[in-house]
């Protein structure tokens, strides 16, 4: 029980904290790059976390009803929709960022970016939080499970949050150029993971056809091993991804790669390095 609790809570918290850290790093980087003309308030994190926890509570409470929707595949469809919604918001964010250094106010763009960041984190917390709540609610009630679940949950959450905090400060300690590059790579992996997860859930719900498996790395690294779970949270590792999942993973990454967010790092390399 204890190890299961650690793994499940760690996986969910790590996914959310990774996303929050990367987006917070971008919030700070935007401020450093564009100054006041494209500056986002960091308070969006607090709002999205609070609203996300409330949303997760409501979603986990109504999960039994939700799972009955669409011929008993409601939960898969709703979870896939959350992934697709997050991906769309992430792509809007990547495309509304100014592509070159322009003077004047960028109020609408900064508001839209803040909205997208809040939305992505809100949806992530609803998704991950409801999964934790369902797991804890379902298992902790059974006799003898309470202590291992609580201890496991605290340890999992502690490790997940710590990695998030250290990732944030680690990226912030780099030069703007490198923080931007690494943040972008992580954002590409997050976007790819969202697309892949949505496909997996819709395939499970039978809304998408089964496609052949692209490869099988179960022997090399099993999905249910601790490292497998960690890599799932970090880069969306799957031992047996389907071809459609792979296509969507790569599409998510490519979309970020062709966005202004990606191009931003190129023209100001020299000046950015100088400002830090």
């Amino acid at each position: 029980m204890f190890l299961n609790a650690v793994i499940i809570v760690l996986q969910e918290i790590l996914e959310a904290s990774l996303l929050i850290s990367v987006l917070l790093v971008f919030t700070q980087l935007f401020h450093k790059i564009w100054g006041k003309s494209f500056s986002l308030k960091t308070s969006w994190v607090a709002y999205s976390i609070i609203l996300g926890i409330i949303g997760a509570g409501l979603y986990s409470h109504y999960t039994p009803q939700v799972s009955e929707w669409f011929d008993y595949v409601g939960q898969e469809v709703v979870n896939a929709s959350i992934h697709i919604g997050s991906l769309i918001l992430l792509l809007i964010l990547a495309f509304v960022v100014p592509s070159k250094k322009i003077t004047g106010k960028l109020m609408t763009r900064s508001r839209l970016t803040t909205f997208c960041m809040t939305g992505v984190v809100l949806l992530a917390i609803i998704r991950e939080g409801s999964e934790i709540m369902q797991y804890v609610g379902g298992i902790a009630g059974q006799s003898g499970n309470f202590t291992p679940i609580v201890f496991g949950g605290i340890i999992g959450a502690g490790i997940g949050l710590s990695i998030g905090v250290l990732l944030y400060y680690g990226l912030m300690s780099l030069s703007i150029k490198w923080a931007y590059r690494l943040g972008l790579i992580l954002l590409m992996l997050i976007a790819g993971n969202m697309g892949s997860q949505a496909v997996l859930l819709l395939t499970q719900a039978d809304w998408l056809p089964f496609t052949p498996i692209a490869w099988n790395t179960s022997a090399l690294l099993a999905e249910d091993s601790i490292l497998g779970h960690l890599l799932y949270a970090l880069i969306g590792y799957e031992a047996t991804p389907s071809i459609l999942q792979l296509v969507c993973y790569l599409s998510g990454m490519i979309m970020i790669a062709i966005s202004p967010l990606f191009r931003k790092v190129q023209p100001h390399n020299q000046s950015l390095a100088g400002t830090n």
Binding site: F2, F151, I159, L161, S162, I163
Partner: protein, 448 residues
């Protein structure tokens, strides 16, 4: 703004939590493996004990045991004795060692042993779920103090970091509280190696700043004297000349205008460079804006009378904190400006009123009051595109015109803006409430 304290506390705590919790996980796994070995050893001992039990050969003996343990004793292929919870079937093949099996709805760990002296096979079994729960409970008890300790460690880190940053915070407060005209070096009593360089550099900077300011002050005084003296001499010569020649001659009027403009320019220039925050802070006190306006109006009244302008002062006593001399200059410049740019027979209204603070600095929900000084006229006004430029140095509304209206150098409104800035006041240029013209509004903070 990023905080050093937050960075130190969260990164130290995160590192500590990460490594401690990973160590706890590692400890959990190795302790569980150890517990498994311990339980297996116990089963081994139990099997030895059971194999020596004295049981009759005639009937199968049933011995009551707890739910977590079971055993069987086999001799020549028949069950000689067993615990009450053991099935009649063979629990494990007659091969010595450990195995797993299922019965009674649970999974069991089994151990089989052959006792050659009695020619018996002994099989003991233990429920795996109970073994696991027991082991896990014991291991988790060792993790509990770690979890309990994390909030305490967090609190301790917060206290230590706060204590460590105290000298920096003290230095920051000391610098913040330093008055603008205080150029004495910083004497930080609670000095640290890391801060010594900062203090030394800051003191060096303050010292250099003091020297520069002293030089500037001396220059202003010298310039005032050196420039004013020849101008005064020129004016005397001009007066003497006016006694001897026709004063209506164009050249004489141009010369008189030139001298007056030069004098005005020097006065304004000197004023602009001498109005420093240091001087301002030293002379700051509560002053009545209405009284100053009244006095300045009285001084400048001949100018308004000359152009037959109608001037009106509205309002009542209103106290603001500031430098009397600077505020006199501000009001006088605004009045001169209105006088200069309003047509003959025009109307000028000066108003002093108390308003609810509505500026960017106004704290939401607070009933902070502002004093608004308005000087408006019904003159030609200022085009919207030019409004932002009127406070620029040497900008004159008539600069495109070759026939200047009166002595002026384009510094008057720059000085107004400069004085307002020293008083943390806002200057706003709007359209006049009259049919034409413009309104200069200066918003001061009211003395609480």
């Amino acid at each position: 703004m990023r905080s050093i304290r937050l960075f130190l506390i969260s990164s130290i705590l995160a590192t500590l939590v990460l490594f401690n919790f990973l160590a706890a996980l590692q400890g959990y796994q190795s302790s569980m493996e150890e517990a498994e070995t311990l339980f297996d050893n116990q089963m081994l001992d139990l099997a030895r004990l059971v194999s020596n039990l004295d049981v009759s050969n005639s009937n199968t003996t049933e011995i009551r045991l707890g739910n977590d343990l079971a055993f069987q004793i086999w001799e020549d292929g028949s069950l000689l004795a067993a615990s009450s919870n053991a099935p009649d079937e063979l629990l494990q093949n007659f091969t010595p060692g450990f195995e797993f099996t299922n019965f009674n709805g649970y999974r069991w760990r089994t151990f089989s042993r052959f006792e050659p002296s009695l020619n018996r096979w002994v099989i003991v079994a233990e429920r795996t779920d109970l073994r696991f729960v027991l082991a896990e409970n014991v291991v988790l008890q060792s993790i509990f103090p770690l979890l309990l300790g994390i909030p305490l460690v967090g609190l301790l880190i917060w206290v230590i970091v706060s204590h460590g940053l105290k000298p920096l915070q003290q230095l920051s407060t000391e610098l913040k509280n330093k008055r603008a005209n205080d150029l004495s070096p910083i004497h930080h009593t609670d000095s640290r190696v890391e801060l010594d360089q900062v203090i030394e550099s800051t003191n060096g900077f303050i010292q250099r700043l003091g020297r520069v300011m002293e030089r500037e002050k001396r220059f202003s005084a010298d310039a005032a004297h050196e420039l004013r003296t020849p101008i005064s001499a020129l004016k005397i010569q001009l007066h003497n000349l006016s006694e001897e020649i026709d004063t209506n001659h164009d050249s004489f009027l141009a010369l008189q205008y030139g001298v007056e403009r030069m004098q005005h320019l020097i006065e304004q220039l000197l004023w602009l460079y001498r109005a420093t925050p240091e001087q301002f802070v030293a002379n700051c006190k509560a002053v009545d804006l209405f009284k100053i306006t009244q006095d300045q109006l009285a001084i400048l009244y001949p100018g308004f009378e000359k152009k037959a302008q109608q001037i009106e002062l509205q309002g009542d006593s209103a106290f603001v904190e500031g430098d009397q001399f600077a505020l006199e200059k501000l009001i006088s410049n605004l009045l001169r400006n209105a006088n200069k740019y309003t047509q003959e027979g025009g109307k000028i209204v000066v108003r002093i009123e108390e308003l609810e603070a509505a500026g960017e600095d106004a704290v939401k929900g607070s009933a902070e009051k502002e004093i608004c000084l308005t000087v408006e006229d019904n003159g030609p006004g200022i085009a919207e595109s030019d409004r932002v430029r009127v406070f620029d140095r040497f900008y004159r509304a008539d600069s495109q015109d070759d026939t200047p209206l009166s002595p002026g150098c384009g510094l008057g409104l720059t000085i107004v803006s400069h004085i307002a800035e020293l008083h943390h006041a806002r200057v706003v240029l709007e359209e006049s409430s009259m049919e034409s013209g413009c309104a200069f509004k200066v918003y001061f903070k009211k003395i609480s």
